[in-house]
Symmetry: D2
């Protein structure tokens, strides 16, 4: 059955009966649980926008396999134009949610796996690509939401998988059977995991020959036996259980909602296995997934930053500081930082190229550059928002104080800004700013799609330093 509307999506989650823990307890139905509703709402936007005439062009595409119009989040990119639309779509949904809407990670996993299974088959004569096309066909037709399962817990980072005290710290095949493989391990930081249907498991790093058992790509239904999800804490997560004002962005939350997804002897049928031991292709798969995921960040975080900029401008207006030149300067700086990250996403898309599989791929160096700027600029945008909003961001009373019969009048009176603006509205905008610029949201910008150092390392590999040295020698007149 195809998931088309938000209601379809919610129903599908309700019926899925997957195992999710929150704060030490199993959640029977996440669709009615306050900790999960905002994340479901955000992901639902990826379905809703595909139904709106004005965003249909961005949010849908024509499948190159079936010729059917599909949700773009399940599409294999067929042109640089497709790559640019991806970025535009992400910024547009960021405007709607002010938060992470989660579904790009699975999309990137689909594209990376598509390209890489093609290459494996070409080289080794396997049939992974055909298997994967079958799987992709199912995803495109059902419009299911897929998690991209990249990051392993990794234990002692100075050791490879096979040298960990506990071999499960990297997800692995513990048994090869006729009907499939049995896997153990976990994937950490799984954005949208709780409200997805599938996970596409990939290796977390380039593997050496001896780490064959960890060279695994496969798709797992999140309601398969042995799959357990544990939802992560977020900054101010308990506010979701209180009033809407203090929640700041009550409908969509502040991040995607991450889970630790545990695989405790999960059986995966062979038709869902897309790499199993081909260590030579682990590096390229990781790099492709990372590149495509890095491509996104100027789009989605660009959109989210736009909302922060708007809220900062309102905060200034509401307290009468918006005409001060330093405020205008800071807003301009925030816009500059935001356009800088967006420019990166557009540029790597425009300079994208066709891979042997036919799928288009963004320029990896520029995608890398994009994400690296995000890991700095989103923090600076947040800092400037704090600067503009003022100290009240740190000391504002509770919504319940505003509602109190005893002290509500004081809160009302002393939270007043310029004439004509309700204190309550001022408080709403400040809370929105607070949640969008605090802990978890920032950390997500830093480490999502790879920690900063993983990008720095790529400059060493992709930066063509030798060519640059040659140019310098020629100009300086050095012959050697």
């Amino acid at each position: 059955m195809r998931i088309t509307t938000k209601e379809d999506y919610i129903r599908s989650l309700k019926e899925q009966h997957h195992v999710v823990y929150y704060n030490g307890r199993r959640v029977e139905d996440i669709t009615v649980h306050p900790a999960f509703i905002p994340h479901i709402n955000a992901a639902a936007k990826t379905y809703e926008m595909a139904l709106r005439p004005e965003s249909e062009d961005l949010a849908t595409a024509v499948s190159h396999i079936t010729g059917q119009r599909i949700n773009r989040f399940t599409h294999i990119h067929q042109s640089t134009n497709d790559l640019i639309r991806k970025v535009q779509l992400l910024r547009a949904i960021g405007h709607e949610t002010g938060s992470c809407f989660q579904r790009c990670v699975g999309w990137d996993a689909l594209n990376a796996t598509y390209m890489t299974t093609f290459d494996i088959d070409q080289k080794l004569g396997t049939d992974y690509h055909q298997r994967f096309i079958q799987y992709l066909r199912m995803i495109q037709s059902t419009n299911k939401m897929v998690v991209g399962g990249m990051t392993d817990p990794k234990g002692d980072r100075s050791r490879p998988p096979g040298k960990q005290s506990d071999p499960d710290l990297f997800t692995r095949v513990v048994e090869r059977r006729e009907d499939g493989v049995v896997i153990c391990g976990a994937k950490a930081h799984q954005t949208g995991g709780a409200n997805s249907h599938e996970i596409l498991v990939m290796p977390t790093q380039a593997m050496a020959e001896e780490d064959k058992d960890w060279a695994l790509t496969c798709a797992v239904s999140l309601n398969a036996p042995g799959v357990v999800q544990i939802f992560g804490r977020q900054t101010n997560d308990e506010r979701k259980f209180g009033g809407r004002l203090d929640a700041g962005n009550p409908d969509f939350g502040l991040v995607g909602g991450e889970t630790l997804i545990v695989f405790d002897h999960v059986v995966v049928p062979w038709e869902r296995v897309f790499m199993c031991g081909e260590t030579d292709f682990t590096g390229i798969l990781v790099e492709r997934f990372a590149t495509m995921h890095r491509q996104n960040y100027g789009g989605c975080k660009g959109g989210v930053s736009d909302v922060i900029i708007g809220a900062s401008a309102l905060a200034a207006e509401y307290q009468g500081t918006h005409k001060a030149s330093h405020i205008r300067e800071k807003l301009a700086e925030m816009m500059h930082l935001t356009e800088t990250i967006y420019a990166g996403s557009v540029a790597c898309s425009a300079m994208g190229y066709k891979t042997p599989s036919g799928a288009y791929y963004p320029d990896p160096l520029l995608a890398n550059c994009t994400k690296h700027n995000v890991s700095r600029h989103v923090y600076e945008v947040a800092r400037l928002a704090h600067d503009i909003a003022g100290g009240i961001l740190a000391t504002m009373p509770f919504e319940q104080d505003l509602r109190s019969l005893d002290v509500g009048r004081y809160v009302e009176k002393y939270m007043a800004g310029v004439d004509g603006i309700r204190s309550e509205d001022r408080m709403r905008i400040l809370r929105l700013l607070e949640v969008m610029t605090g802990g978890t949201a920032l950390v997500e910008s830093m480490h999502g799609a790879g920690s900063p150092q993983t990008q720095k390392v790529m400059y060493g590999r992709l930066g063509k330093l030798d060519m640059k040295k040659k140019m310098a020698k020629r100009l300086a007149g050095v012959d050697q």
Copy 2:
């Protein structure tokens, strides 16, 4: 009765019966309420350290009025050495609490009022200084904790007090009576307000002649009729009600704990009034308070940053990344930023000078410089901490997940780092980092002791631009 020990301090708060609201409800006894205990613990350190032989020299001083040994937080600085010790003391307590311990703000208010009442009397023949010395004597002998009441709600920031729609948006005298004045208004962002005994109200900005009624300095007992405090929300404040692990810094919290202190027709006896209408002295009082408060920030935030650096180093060690050169580089950068802010605090102290009142005053330009660096560097320290700690900071399971019979074993297993470190300890350090580098703690660094633009403005006033232009002309050979 003199408050000497932590127990004395807690008892004094218990017996004070001041009016404090939290989350819409009056709190009968803050000393047993989880939202307040961490802040009380932090402030109590200012009493405890005065009793420890090894810190006595820093934490106490000899009163220049009485010759008695007193808590340094009630001392009027008598030398540049006193100013330097202030800074050293603040860093030392920062090391103990990893948080704001609140008591410097009242201390700065005492010193600023001391200097300024002297000046008013010199010029106008009033007797404010003697009144104030009496008050100070009481504070020194009882060792009470004083809030420095500077910041008014201010409503529309583009208008002066007398042009606000509601005149109470700046605290003011509404009636002058034989026994004292009646005041209305509020003070915002009152650090440590809930667990203090007194507030020393000061004007929030330089006032023009027509704003006489707002030119008010006076001391108010926090249990005086008409004084109502409303406690502000903080990032993750609800974690104080849960387990210790998720609280991160369970004993001391993440900031000082701020209240909105409302004065609803509070009567202040004349002997507690230290300025009443002398608008000419409002500017200098504000500047002095601001200077002395800005002096602090390289001390206390230096201490707090030291803890963040230590926690970041541990986080790296626990996951096996501590030998990577980029990690060592980032730790060095964090230390560099921290020593830069500390250097500012030391420098403005060393270059301090004697005011006409006899009290010593830090160099205002350098104090300003210090705070301005804090408003940037603490954010960068936090950003680097996030970089080092990794994405797990944003997605780590709840303490209750770790304790769960169902999934505790998974959390234990997959939160493992290097051999020999318990997953639980790794989680503790990460939670400490999370709470020390998130929303409210950062905003406090930005806006405490004045927003960044208030410092920028001081460069225009104190920067001696004319002298600098003369030097340039001389060197360039311009005669005019």
Copy 3:
């Protein structure tokens, strides 16, 4: 006669007999004068690359007027692909020259005038566009080099043209005659002026109705009577007269070579006048020229920065520090900054659109963003180059010391680095770095295509702040 080869170009300059002053003296033939040769060489690359098979595709285009293959530097952009090629071409020539090759400024002037004359005619029924197409046809067929004459001297920046003490501080029409207009004034910072054939004069800012006489666009031959050029000083310009080693980049210099071009009652025939008094179109012409010129900077400065990166890497290798992790980190950072500016240029091109005239135009907000990053990042690239190269950059002996019979052996001996590298080669690379990262080259990055504040201002105009405020209100639940 069509200029095709470098030789053609040099001959054309030799025969032009235009008036150029250098260091207080008229230069009879710039093509044999050491101060000009490097700039001529750099500009000549724009001719040479069009003749090379491997760069022909980038460096030429098909004229939309004549269908002939023309030098791309005279082309009107017909697609976003044309815009992207422009950027790629600039980076490629930057690699060849390590310097400014000057010719983009006239190119941008041609495109901006093309678009804007179309608009004027549409609105006012004038025939400027046809006149301009005739002019453009001549430029495309002769392949002459055109200077874009935007910046006036401007005198007192706080006053408009008509309020200056000297009305010539903005270039203006002093007389309208039957055969044309007579103009007075000057254009400053005219990159490549000394070795160009034509200048396309444009207004320097949006003009008000009363400043009609200054609303002037016209083409002037640089050998027209009354045109006088004065060449500007550059950092280390006297090294061009000494040996090649100390010159650093002996063949191409460090910047484009700028002149002050004075118009002392120059007669301009009507067929070369493309705006004369239409003040309403001054703003859009300036904005278009600025946008297209800002588009370039990630291309050309990206190319130049690549050379700096290469030279820095060599400097490290030659002294044995290239394996230090901090050096690798700094090289990666330089590459990151370089790709960031390049990404901006690509992005504004990819998001370009068709104007009513048919010519394509880059996205102005992203072009703006690009240049603003250049005004920061090129300085940081230079700073990192200095960091890597070491103090020797500031204290290295003269080439003549190396050549000296007395002390040459000491220079040789003590400038030695790692085995196998000649001291002289090490010195060459260091000198290249020195000249590429010093004074004039940096200032050019700051102010070329508009000073940083002109870009900041554009964020206020193009940043869609109202839309952003609306998004924030919706998410925060503010209805107003």
Copy 4:
């Protein structure tokens, strides 16, 4: 004979007959050579200020050896107050010269050697300290100028002295004789070398046991046989031979003036040898010299930056932009950066302490911090100066154009700014800015007193990371 006045100083240089090469030729008398006069003038300020009543207190001190009043540049610091005065003195001379005045480096060498010879004698029973006191007594009484000879050429930086292909790449003892030692090698970047009397040679890094021959501290007269100096190129150095306007800072130049000092079999008598083979003390001597030299940079560069700020403010005034809010903001930022570096110098002085020798020593961590900020902030000050001054900094005509009968009137006319300011004066200020913010001056700020990475490394050593980890554990509740 004691050098007291500027004239004495010049005479002493004239009579010294030391060997100095400039641009491949021996300079017979540096005191009349344009390349050297500015540097002599700058160093002469250290003599002149000692004679002025208003600066005598800063510029002189009482010798702890003889009780005589001496030039402070020869003084061994006897208190933290002495350390602070050092910093104040440096800033004051920076205001006078806008350049490096060179003499602090020898001063720091004297203090470092004083402390360390004491320690060697204490441990090893040698008599270096007494020898050194004799030498110091001579320096104090003659008031000679001493170069601090720290940095060796170092060749391949990845190898220690004994592993270089050429052992002279680190200065060393090649023969021990009865009357003294014979040394070979060179010292690079020797600030003020050409116009000094003595060099105090010190080892450039911590030496291992096997590098005994390179563990050398000794004093050498610069006119001793075998000492040859080669003067380094500077940015725009040829302008010293032209008119004063283009020179920018015609009287004092832009940097100290550095030489490569070669020792070609120079004999050093034993009474001038203060370390010879005691490798254990090389590290501490280097660290002490570096610390005391790093202490300076917020003083001297603070003074120099003040001049840049003044010139920037004038540049803005002269062109009518000084009231723009962004200009005021940028000037404030420049002052902020300048006070930040100054604060570091003051702070490390105030936190200084007494060494076993009795000499006072600044806090090494804070001194380190100071210099590290200088290596960033001076660049940013320069960048902001460029931003304020405008593109004219890069394209301004020559002084000879202004003087020209042909085009002088054009330069006059078009370099005009606001009414009442002569174009020539505007040009002077712009040239001053240009020379103070370009190549060599910046590199000096980066690498003087140690390259940035040498400071980063010190954080690892002095940053007390273990203590910080303990604090974090305690707060987080980690027991281990």
